[in-house]
């Protein structure tokens, strides 16, 4: 079918998610959506708005508040010929379904000697900054990146949101798409047609000459702001958005550091044991001789996410903290 040439269209991140889900439901007859309040309400963040109307009740289902049941449904349905999209309203709720995620979804193929295929996509919402306190603000990607059998992607723009959802759904493995609640209103170009973003390929969102910032999830935008501030200090930062954390595009990051000789990793998650530790470790393992300074890490401090805006503002990493860490590293 000849796609008409369309002129660039901009959408908010929230609508790009919808667009991605819509594309999947159109191209895959055996795809359907299940989750809490996804059908009637269109999702508590509205990213399934219109799906019920367009595709009907056979393609999108409200579920009971039963996260383990939902993930199990995804496992069982994907093992038996469907391509489910399962929705976990908040990433914080992984605690409720971690067995079905980690012991069933991630491991079933391996345990069965490769004789089962689980094309299941899970969408979930992460991130702090909305005064939602300790149980609705976490970034727990470190848990799932540590689990062989899963793929993990974190779209940071409307374009990536649509493209990564489509890739996730086309993938024959369980893929967890970690969305960010503070990005929902962010505008960006989103083509009408269906397109895929390769899982496992990092995106150099800002090329730079003498500093590498690897930024995870929403921190990409903070890193870009930080890069602007760093210009005044004579630092030309390259900002890399891995987009996919599992598999992780080590090559792109290492190549950048070989050029820049300095690196910083930033994420929203608690710094201790965050995915930044893995990335920093890999950088020093593979680019040790190129490094002029230790790989720095910026992450949330070691506490649960506080409710009060006065505290949360100091909790969530941002451009200023990235700049401060760079300065510290450079001794300026």
């Amino acid at each position: 079918m000849a796609e008409a040439q369309v002129k660039p269209r901009t959408l908010p991140y929230v609508a790009a998610i919808t667009d991605g889900v819509r594309a999947v439901l159109r191209e895959q007859d055996n795809a359907f959506v299940v989750g809490e309040d996804v059908a009637g309400a269109g999702g508590v963040y509205g990213y399934y708005k219109g799906i019920l109307k367009e595709f009907g009740p056979d393609r999108i289902y409200d579920t009971p508040i039963s996260e383990e049941g939902i993930v199990g449904l995804g496992v069982g349905a994907s093992a038996t010929g469907c391509r489910p999209i399962i929705d976990l309203m908040f990433m914080d709720f992984m605690g409720e379904c971690m067995d079905e995620i980690s012991n069933q979804m991630a491991k079933m193929r391996y345990m069965f000697g490769g004789r089962v295929t689980l094309p299941v996509t899970m969408l979930t919402m992460a991130g702090a900054g909305a005064s939602l306190a300790a149980q609705h603000s976490q970034s727990l990607e470190a848990w799932i990146c540590h689990l062989p059998g899963l793929k993990v992607v974190m779209p940071t723009t409307p374009y990536d949101a649509k493209g990564l959802i489509i890739s996730a759904a086309r993938d024959n493995n369980p893929v967890i798409v970690v969305l960010n609640k503070m990005s929902l209103g962010m505008m960006g170009e989103v083509p009408e047609e269906s397109y895929a973003i390769p899982i496992g390929e990092a995106n150099i969102v800002r090329p730079g000459a003498n500093y590498t910032i690897v930024a995870i999830g929403r921190m990409v935008h903070e890193a870009l702001k930080a890069a602007e501030q760093l210009k005044d200090l004579g630092i030309d930062a390259e900002v890399i958005d891995p987009r996919s954390l599992q598999p992780f595009d080590t090559a792109t990051v290492v190549k950048s550091v070989e050029k820049t000789h300095r690196a910083l990793v930033v994420h929203e998650a608690v710094r201790f044991g965050g995915i930044g530790a893995e990335i920093a470790s890999q950088i020093q393992e593979l680019a040790f001789d190129y490094l002029d300074a230790p790989v720095a890490r910026v992450g949330a401090p070691f506490s649960p996410v506080p409710f009060s805006p006065a505290l949360e503002a100091h909790y969530v990493p941002n451009a200023d903290r990235i700049v401060a860490e760079v300065k510290k590293q450079l001794g300026i």
Partner: protein
């Protein structure tokens, strides 16, 4: 059955008014952008918390839900510290660290609102276990919604309470919805109380809009628990007047205006006031005076909260660990 006294009726009445006015005010402040984050309001369900809590002392524990202000108020929560917490102020019950979804006060026996649906029942079982282990005659009460009754955690908690015959009362506030999903779209049963049999405990259904009925049913269950006869699942049929979050909320059409109106006609406060008036216990004027008094308290507390300081950033990493 325990005969309800006039004093208790007035006590319940006052608790209900305190919840109603607190919640209406808090909802407005949230929608005006003064209170950050998300508030889940209890308006419509006041009879339940109020009529249960008059049976409890500060040594009886409760666990609550995301919709927790009413439970804390009924358990003796002070408006100053509550509003301050909702505002994220240092003077709040949780020093601003918890907010609405984690508001709590251990001195009052309130083990916290909970942002996790189904997070409470296992904790209530722990508190009940503790009461029994420490050889007290205290009970624990777990409030949860119809939606929460589908979480595995409820099942595990109920089974354990039944097994150990713990002094735990499971109070399902069935308001017909889990967020925007009607009960018929989240479970195949009409009465959550039907699940009690599967745990070897009585399942009791009561009109959650009728404070006196709740008082009586809860009294029975609590008496049983104190006497070492084990847990009860008490289902209270009720309704929330406002949206799932806030007052107007997301403006979705998941329920009809008529349905809301039907339930509002059975308002638990109005019907209790009518009864109190009919029985000559509280005249409409005296009732109005309670409203006015509470309204003034609420206003004072909002002022207290607004004038309170934000927590100092230096406190960010405090309270993670005990010494």
């Amino acid at each position: 059955m325990e005969q309800i006294t006039d004093a208790t009726l007035l006590d319940i009445h006052r608790r209900m008014i305190r919840i109603r006015i607190f919640e209406e005010t808090a909802g407005k402040l949230m929608e005006d952008g003064k209170i950050p984050g998300a508030l889940h309001l209890y308006v419509g369900q006041e009879a339940i918390a109020s009529a249960v809590m008059v049976h409890l002392s500060n040594k009886d524990w409760i666990t609550s839900t995301h919709r927790g202000h009413g439970h804390l108020i009924a358990k003796g929560g002070e408006f100053d510290q509550m509003f301050a917490e909702l505002y994220g102020k240092a003077t709040g019950y949780c020093k601003g660290k918890g907010g609405s979804m984690h508001i709590s006060n251990l001195d009052l026996g309130m083990l916290g609102a909970n942002g996790i649906v189904g997070g409470g029942p296992p904790i209530a079982v722990g508190a009940g276990f503790s009461n029994k282990f420490r050889k007290t005659d205290n009970v624990s009460v777990s409030f949860f919604g119809d939606g929460a009754s589908n979480e595995g955690s409820f099942h595990e908690a109920a089974n354990m309470a039944g097994l150990y015959k713990l002094p735990v009362i499971f109070i399902c506030e069935n308001n017909g919805y889990g967020e925007y999903t009607a009960q018929k779209n989240h479970q195949a049963i009409v009465d959550v109380a039907d699940r009690a049999a599967g745990y070897g405990m009585p399942g009791v259904i009561v009109d959650g809009m009728d404070a006196i009925a709740v008082f009586e049913a809860a009294g029975e269950a609590i008496k049983r628990a104190r006497a070492g006869e084990g847990p009860t699942l008490l289902e209270c049929k009720t309704y929330r007047y406002f949206d799932h979050v806030g007052v107007r909320g997301m403006g979705l059409s998941y329920r009809t205006d008529e349905e809301v109106e039907q339930w509002r006609k059975r308002d638990p406060i109005e019907s209790l006031e009518k009864r109190l008036a009919d029985q000559g216990i509280l005249s409409p004027e005296a009732a109005q005076a309670v409203h006015d008094e509470v309204r003034t308290q609420v206003q004072d507390s909002v002022r207290f909260a607004e004038q309170s300081p934000m927590p100092d950033p230096s406190t960010l990493l405090e309270d993670v660990y005990a010494a």
